[in-house]
Each structure stands twice: as structure tokens, then as C-alpha cells.
Symmetry: C2
Subunit: 570 residues, 2 copies
């Protein structure tokens, strides 16, 4: 349970403020996260880490010399918004480029990927390195689809040390990817974690059983079995990882992390370590500076995971390099003085609009009205969408969409009220949606609307060509950055036919309202058709099983949105 809370909606934000107060020697708060408080050399590569909150010390506990330059913090278990990632990275950038490092989850891939594009557009060379260490989340040969769990620590330790040593952006990126390629994790859970403000745990494990391969947000595992003795559990963890040893990892020296997920006692981890250590040594491996403790938690989840990084000479050097951060100190880092004051937040956070010419201004007002109607429609469908989502996911889709659309409508209204043009109104809606909705749907809608806004203008009302270009840009970016294709049982299943029919009809000279109407019907038909699809994307097996025969909530809500907005299209 979460017992210490004022307001569940601001729990993560408040925890971050408390953390910054305690660790002011090492970190200072910025909008969206923290950056180092200690001086950092000009032109050093900036390692920016981040993801959802609720995993302390991941990520903010690992900011400091020899580790991260900054950490972005989303809401509990929710990806931070694109805008916040870009803001934190700009603050951390010292002229040497940026490496964005995060766990491989759909929302984070979207938000960090889109943030990287925005940073590059500003002239900041930016690389993205998703961590993919969890062996149960996709089979061998599909390692890139695996999710990131405690292996974050190995990757950010190596990348942080490489950046601190003054290596260039290509090298830091290469080493981060190399560490990730050599890292494998496997975990078990004995009991669920409870989100702040929730009445009960996110999931439960029956008494006397353990969930095998469960994710750090309660994603389904691959199996469940009776609780084992410490000896049996140690053998299981080691066996499962050694079976999955990366190709070419032959040196016999490994970095090891035996991680507690929050509710498991330190003493239990030490008991388990006796078996893990002897099994690894029995397999001929030398254990280099092993870590045993709480390094990547999942709120108060009971459980543990084992992570192994197969070292070579360069990985071992960076694994052992000194570092200093709130949660991890190794060796001795020479004391750096305090950093220079930070530049102010970037302009886009300020939402300043200039008054647009009347046609574009009127189009902007129309967009705002359409989004109001969308927010109302989604609020009406919230429960139904939640029910559909709960069949295969965590059931929060309706809530996320309602919150996102309401925020988007408010953002659009504010921009339209200030006389902004169509492009700016839609961009304001996009950023508000992404900031407030959280989760994957928030990231996708923010990205899609932002991409569409880029095809509009603040000078003119959008014509048929602009609307077609907006639809194409949106679906193109959502598919490229989100990595989903039609048939993967995501909103793309409805969005892709919508965009294809809309832009095709407009190109053929069909009037806008007629083209939109046809596109909406195509989206509806496709959403219904997701019943018969099996998801192909890197999700756990149980998810695929459970989603058979059910519509995808993201596709359904997209179709609803297309139809609702259609009323405003003339």
C-alpha cells in the first residue's frame, strides 16, 4: 500500500521535490526532472536517462559524476512527455551532444524518440539507446523487442563512465549499446505493488506462489509456480540467464546485480546471494564488483531480479570507474565545484502566441471547438474504453484518453483565445495532451497531433492539401517512432486506413467533409476488425492470449475521435 501521500495526482512530482531537497549537493530540479548540480566540463557528452517514476533509485538517484548528467521523471509508471525530455536534455547539453537512455517501453520509445528529433532540429546531435535486458519479454533473436528492467543500471553505469572519461558521442553511444547487448535480466515476483491513491495492488500473486518473469510495472509474466527455496530460486535465476548468454561473450568475467523490487527484505537478498554467487562461480565466472540491494524498484513490489553483464576489457573498465550519485558511489570522484546557473526553460514551455490572420485564427477556433467535443465524447466513453483495455492491458486507456483530450481542449482553447493560428492551436493541444495524459496513448496522440500541426500554418486556413499532408505526417511519425504496423493491434490499425483513405480522397479532389467521413468509416471498420488480429509487437505471451477476440482499445478510441471531429469538418 501507499500510506504516505497528499495528492495522488502529484505524488511523483512531490517525491522529486523532496529528493532534490535532500540531494542538493548532486542534483537540482528543472522542469521535468533533475540535472547535475556539480560542474561538468564543456563539450562533455550529456547522458540523459529517464522514464516513469516509482522505480527509485531509477532514474534520478543515478545522476552525478560518472553517471547521468540529467534524469527525466514521468508520472508513476508513465513515460515523461516529449516536451519535458527535450527541456531536460537542453539543460544538460554541454555542446558534446546527447545520449538519451531509457527502458524499452512503447511510451518511452515514442517520447524519447520524438524528443531526439526535436533536439536534432535545434542542432543538438542526439542518440537514443533503449535498454532491452529482460529475457522473458521476447525470445532470442528478437532481443531488440525486449523490455528494459534492472539492466538499466549496467548500461547507464558504462555510458556514464565513458562520457565522464571524455569520449565522443559516437563512442558513448557505441558503448551504451554494447553494454546493453551484453546484459540480461530475469526476475520473479511474490506480491504486487500499489499505485499511490489506489485501493488495492496493481496485481496479486497467490499466497505460496511466485510469478516468473513479471515486469517492473506488473506486466504479465510467463509462468507461475510454487514458491521455491532460496537455493532453488538462486539456481533458477542463474540457469535462465546463462541459457541466454549473448553470443561472443566468452571472457568469463561478469558484472552482477541482484536487485530487490522494493518490498523484499535486504536479508532475503543476501540469503539468495549465497546461492547465486556459488552457482555463477560454479559456472566458471568471476564476479566483478557485484551489487546486491534495491537498485531498480517497482514501488513496494515483493520480488527480485538477477542481472548479468558479460564484460570485456572496456566494459569492465567503465563498470569499475568511479562515480558519485545519490544512490551509487564507487571509488573516489574528485570533488567538482557547483555548476554554473542554468539557462531559462525553452520558449515552447511558455506558450506565447502571436495573433494570426483571420482565416487561420478562425480555423484555430474551429479546432478548439472540435477538441471540446472530442473531450466530451471520450468522457462519455471512458468506462467502456477502460473495460475493453482491461481485457488485455491495465485498464487505464479510458482514463488516459479522457485526461489527455480534456487537457488538449483546454490548451487549444487557451491558444485560440489568444488569437493563435491553426498550426499553433493544434501544437498547443498536442503538447497539453502529451503532458497530461501520460502513458503510451498520451505519447502517441501528442506525437500525432504535433506532426499534423507541422503541416498546417498560422498564416492560412488549412486547405485540402494541408489536411492530407497533416494526416500523412501524423501516421508516418507515429509508425516510425512507435514502431507499430497495421496488424499489431494498436491504434495504428484504425489510424493507418483513416490517413490512407483521407489523403487519397483529398488527392482525388473529394470535398473535405466527404473525404473525412469516408476515412472515419474506414477507421471504424478497422477498429472492429482488430478482434480478429493477434498482436505481433514485443509484448508478453499472456497479453497475446488475453487479447484474442477483443477489439483494441486504442483503435476503438481513435475511430470514435475521427467520427466526433468529423462533425466539425466542412
Amino acid at each position: 500500500m501507499t500510506h504516505i501521500v497528499d495528492d495522488a495526482d502529484h505524488f511523483a512530482e512531490q517525491a522529486l521535490a523532496g529528493f532534490c531537497d535532500v540531494h542538493g549537493r548532486l542534483v537540482r530540479p528543472v522542469t521535468g526532472g533533475v540535472v547535475r548540480a556539480t560542474a561538468t566540463p564543456e563539450n562533455k557528452v550529456a547522458l540523459v536517462i529517464g522514464g516513469g517514476s516509482g522505480h527509485y533509485p531509477v532514474f534520478n538517484g543515478y545522476v552525478g559524476p560518472g553517471l547521468g548528467d540529467a534524469a527525466v521523471a514521468g508520472d508513476v509508471f508513465a513515460s515523461p512527455a516529449t516536451r519535458l525530455i527535450a527541456n531536460v536534455a537542453r539543460k544538460a547539453h554541454r555542446g558534446g551532444g546527447v545520449v538519451l537512455c531509457f527502458g524499452n517501453y512503447a511510451g518511452d520509445v515514442l517520447n524519447f524518440g520524438f524528443a531526439a528529433e526535436r533536439l536534432r532540429a535545434d542542432g543538438i546531435d542526439t542518440r537514443v539507446v533503449p535498454v532491452t535486458d529482460d529475457v522473458v519479454s521476447a525470445p532470442r533473436g528478437q532481443e531488440a523487442r525486449r523490455r528494459g528492467v534492472a539492466g538499466d543500471v549496467m548500461v547507464l553505469k558504462v555510458a556514464g563512465a565513458a562520457a565522464e572519461a571524455g569520449l565522443g558521442l559516437d563512442e558513448v553511444e557505441r558503448l551504451a549499446r554494447h553494454a546493453n547487448d551484453r546484459t540480461r535480466s530475469f526476475g520473479v515476483a511474490f506480491g504486487g505493488c500499489t499505485l499511490p491513491g489506489a485501493d488495492g495492488p496493481l496485481f496479486t500473486v497467490p499466497e505460496g506462489r511466485m510469478a516468473i518473469g513479471l515486469g517492473i510495472h506488473g506486466e504479465p509474466g510467463i509462468d507461475e509456480q510454487p514458491t521455491a527455496s532460496a537455493a532453488e530460486l538462486g539456481a533458477l535465476l542463474v540457469r535462465r540467464l546463462l541459457e541466454d548468454a549473448p553470443d561472443g561473450a566468452t571472457g568469463g568475467r561478469v558484472a552482477v546485480l541482484l536487485n530487490g523490487l522494493g518490498g523484499t527484505k535486504y536479508e532475503e537478498l543476501f540469503v539468495l546471494w549465497t546461492h547465486v554467487a556459488s552457482a555463477l562461480r560454479g559456472a566458471g565466472l568471476a564476479l566483478v564488483a557485484p551489487l546486491v540491494g534495491e537498485y531498480v524498484t517497482s514501488l513496494d513490489m515483493e520480488g527480485c531480479s538477477l542481472t548479468i553483464c558479460w564484460l570485456d576489457e572496456e566494459l569492465e573498465r567503465f563498470w569499475l570507474a568511479p562515480c558519485d550519485s545519490p544512490a551509487l558511489r564507487i571509488g573516489t570522484v574528485s570533488e567538482a565545484g557547483p555548476a554554473a546557473p542554468l539557462p531559462p526553460d525553452d520558449a515552447e514551455a511558455g506558450n506565447r502566441w502571436t495573433e494570426a490572420p483571420a482565416p487561420s485564427r478562425e480555423a484555430g477556433a474551429g479546432i478548439a471547438r472540435a477538441l471540446d467535443a472530442l473531450a466530451t465524447a471520450l468522457r462519455g466513453a471512458e468506462e467502456e474504453l477502460g473495460r475493453i483495455d482491461a481485457l488485455a492491458g491495465d485498464g487505464d486507456h479510458g482514463q488516459g484518453m479522457t485526461r489527455g483530450a480534456a487537457a488538449a481542449a483546454a490548451g487549444a482553447r487557451e491558444a485560440a483565445g489568444a488569437g493563435a493560428g491553426a498550426a499553433s492551436v493544434l501544437a498547443a493541444a498536442a503538447d497539453s495532451w502529451a503532458d497530461r495524459a501520460g502513458g503510451t496513448s498520451g505519447a502517441i496522440w501528442g506525437l500525432g497531433l504535433r506532426s499534423a500541426a507541422g503541416a498546417l500554418s498560422d498564416e492560412r486556413a488549412p486547405d485540402a492539401a494541408a489536411v492530407a499532408a497533416a494526416a500523412r505526417a501524423a501516421i508516418e511519425n507515429v509508425m516510425r517512432l512507435g514502431g507499430a504496423k497495421p496488424g499489431d493491434k494498436t491504434l495504428v490499425d484504425a489510424f493507418e486506413p483513416f490517413a490512407r483513405v483521407l489523403s487519397g480522397a483529398l488527392d482525388a479532389g473529394t470535398p473535405l467533409s466527404e473525404a473525412w467521413s469516408r476515412a472515419s468509416e474506414a477507421a471504424h471498420a478497422a477498429a472492429e476488425g482488430t478482434k480478429d488480429l493477434l498482436p505481433q509487437l514485443g509484448r508478453a505471451r499472456n497479453h497475446a492470449e488475453r487479447s484474442r477476440g477483443h477489439r483494441d482499445a486504442g483503435a476503438v478510441s481513435f475511430a470514435l475521435a475521427a467520427r466526433t471531429v468529423g462533425e466539425f469538418v466542412r
Copy 2:
């Protein structure tokens, strides 16, 4: 729950082995605990900390330069045996004397106190400093009766830094006591902890309620109230401590520890910190290097505590001094090389006996037979003793006595089998009892029997004078080191009249068997009379309430023992 366990009886021992394997740079295992693995200067004062296990990082996590020289580890929530404390301290001693620092609990006071006497007898100047920071466990003016909780961290940090700075034994003891005098803690619990091997938690807190002032072993608190918001909880913690500020603490600078008990999320602590920090600053206090995290746990207990140490110039210097240990690093400690190899365990651990003359040997065999009978009798009474104990305590008295007596009988049998005399057989029984029984009863019985053994001889059979002297020595040491008087509702209520009647009758020339019989009856009558007593000793209020009208389990088992052994007295 405890999910990772092989054998609950060896859980603490196995956890310690795992801990030593991970942290071999800083600590190495010895019988009974750990000592530093890093070189320590000759003649440095040795700070030896310890107590029951289950509180990681307390105590073994705080061994290293600038902190403890060694830590003694008892079973989970049970005091380490006298013999083990003495062994660990001998290993840590560098010629400068020893400070034994531990939380103020009956079993620890007995065992550390008796160990100090044994060390002094060996020529090692030894001081004992019990930590007494928990404001709810005794009122103002009776601070010395308070139990030790998270304030351990403040006291051992200051004492460790003072010892590292090369201060002498008097000064290190003075500073440890001074830090303790300036330190106050107050805690709340939301949920109980589960002992390894147990089916359910040691205690529970009703859903939506919190226990105020609960101890770190589940000792009763002073109140229960509905769960508060983080803001209200922060205000409560701060108010309760500021009300109890020590006299003469006026500097306005404080060391602060906001501690999680194991099952409370890091994020919750950071949320709470925002309120604690602002309330303290609002009271005009400057917060010096505050700590927020899990520093003194209670297995997986949900809850937290706040500790304040009112600093003066010397306390602040030692609070901020560098240290390096598995769980706490501050500043930079210059790298010490590895320590020299350790001397072998002391002889008494080896249990080597020489054959005694026949009369003493025969008396030794008689003692062993009597202890066999005692073990049988206690096994028969185990459930009944547990039931009596559960009315006011944790219900483990019967189990502890059965385990202790069985071990004592086995130890005595082994010594007698090797031809040892009366004194050695009884000493072997004492040490076995203390080693295996755990808890306060184990400490008292070990101490009583060891004290009695000191009045016997390996040359002669014990005569009336020796038996009288043994009884006097035993009750004198138990009362002096245990701090209990008749009327405190402990075993002393039965033991004191037993020893008084026995030695008085023997002094008056009464035959031994008749004297013993009268003494036994006095013990029985007194044990029955504990129904009408109210405990005076430093225990929480609820305990006093609950024990009204019930016999004391320790007094009852003492009376049973006296009668059982009487059958063998001729």
C-alpha cells in the same frame, strides 16, 4: 512475508554470509559477526556495534573506516550471545580499548554488559553505551529507560568518527553518550513485519490506521489513529520530537534522519520529507546533511521514523566526518590497505576440557542429568509458557526456554562425557544456553548459570558453601546487569526469593536438599504472586496494561526449573 528462505533457523547466519561475500572489500566474517577488512591503526579505540538481525543496514552495514570496527549479529530480533560479543570484540581490539554500542533492550543490555565484564577480566578496557532515542518508550526524566531505534545511526556515526580521529577511550565514550543524549526518535507503522519461517506477520495494523510509536520489533505503540495525509504525518513527527528536545540543545543546527522501516517506498519518504524539512526549517532549525532512506529497517515493516540529533560544534564535526561502509559513505576516506590476518577464535569457543578429579567429575555428571530432566520438563511446559507469555509479550518464551535448556543439557552432557568437573560442566551449559536460546531469557539464563559456575570448582564436589555462593553470584549478576528488581514482573521475582532462601538456609546449616526444597517453594509462591504485580521496568504502556492479572512467564519457568532440578539435589 519472507519469501526467500532455506531454513528459518539459519536465516540470519546465511544472510550475514551473503553480505560478507558481497562486501569483502570492507568486512570479513568472524564467529558471531564481522570485523573490518581494511587496515586499522594500532591503539585505535575499537567501536563494536551490534544486536539482533533483521534491521539491515543496522548493524553490519555500518562497519568500515569512520564507523564501526566490528558488528555482532544475533538471530533475527534476538540479542547476540555474550560469548559471541566477546569474541568479535577481541578480534576488533587494537590495544586502545573497546566501546560496545547497542540499542537499549533487556537482552542486549545483559549480553553486552556481561561481555564487557569478560573483556575487562582479560585486560581489555571496555565501555558500554546503550542507545536510548525512542521518545515514546519512557517519559521525559526517564530517558535512560528508553529503547534504541534509528538513533543508533547518529550515535555510531559520531562515535565512529571520534575513534577514527584517534581520540582516546574516555573521549570516544563521552562523545557516544553525548550524541545519544542529544538524539530523539519517533516512529509510526502502517503494517507489520513477518519473521522468516512465520506464517503471518508479528503484528498487524488495521487498514486505514497507523500505530503511533511502535518499536522496531513490533513492540506495542502508545496509540493508534486514522492514517494521516503526508502533511499531517510530517507535522506530527516534527512536533513530537521538538516537544522532547533535550535540555541545553540550543544551537539551532540538527542532524536529521527520515528512516524507512523496510516496506515503505522511497518515493513516500521523499514526499514526507518535503513536509518534515519545511516544518523543521519553520522552527528555525538548520538541517545538516540530512539522510532520507532505509537506514534502520525492521524486516519488511511498513512505517517510518524521524530522528533528530541536536548538534553542537563537536557533534557536527563528527557527524560530517568522512566514512566508508557498505551502507553509508560520506566524503572521501583515504584508501586503507587490507588488514592483517585475524587471530584464531578464543579458547572458550573450542570447548576443550581436562579430566577432573572424581568427586567434581561425578558432580558434573549429576549437573548434566539434572539439566536433561530440566529440558524434558520445559518441553512439556512449552505451550503453557508460550500462552502465559503471549498475554503480555510475543509468546516465544516457551520456545526459547525449551531450545535453551535442550542446548544446555547437550553442552553439559558433552563436557561431562569428556570428564570435566562441576564448574566446567555448568559453564558449558551456560554458554550453550545463551548461544542457542536467543532473546532475553537466553541471556539471563546464560548469565545466571555462568555466574554460578564461577563459584564452583573443577577440583571438588560443590559443598553447601559453594552452592550458597553460586546462588548469590547468579542473582547478583542477573540483577546488576539485567537492571531488574523484585516487583518488576520478571524472572527475578522468583529467582531472588529462591536465592535468598537457599543461601540463608545453607548458611544456617540446613541440609542441601531441604534448603533447596524450601527455596523452590518460595520461588513457586513468588511466581504465582506475579499476577498481582505491575511491571515497573521501561516497557511500553500497553504491556503494563496487558500483563495485569497474569503471571510472568519468566518467573513461572524459573520456579518449574528450581523444582525439577531439586529432584537431583542430595
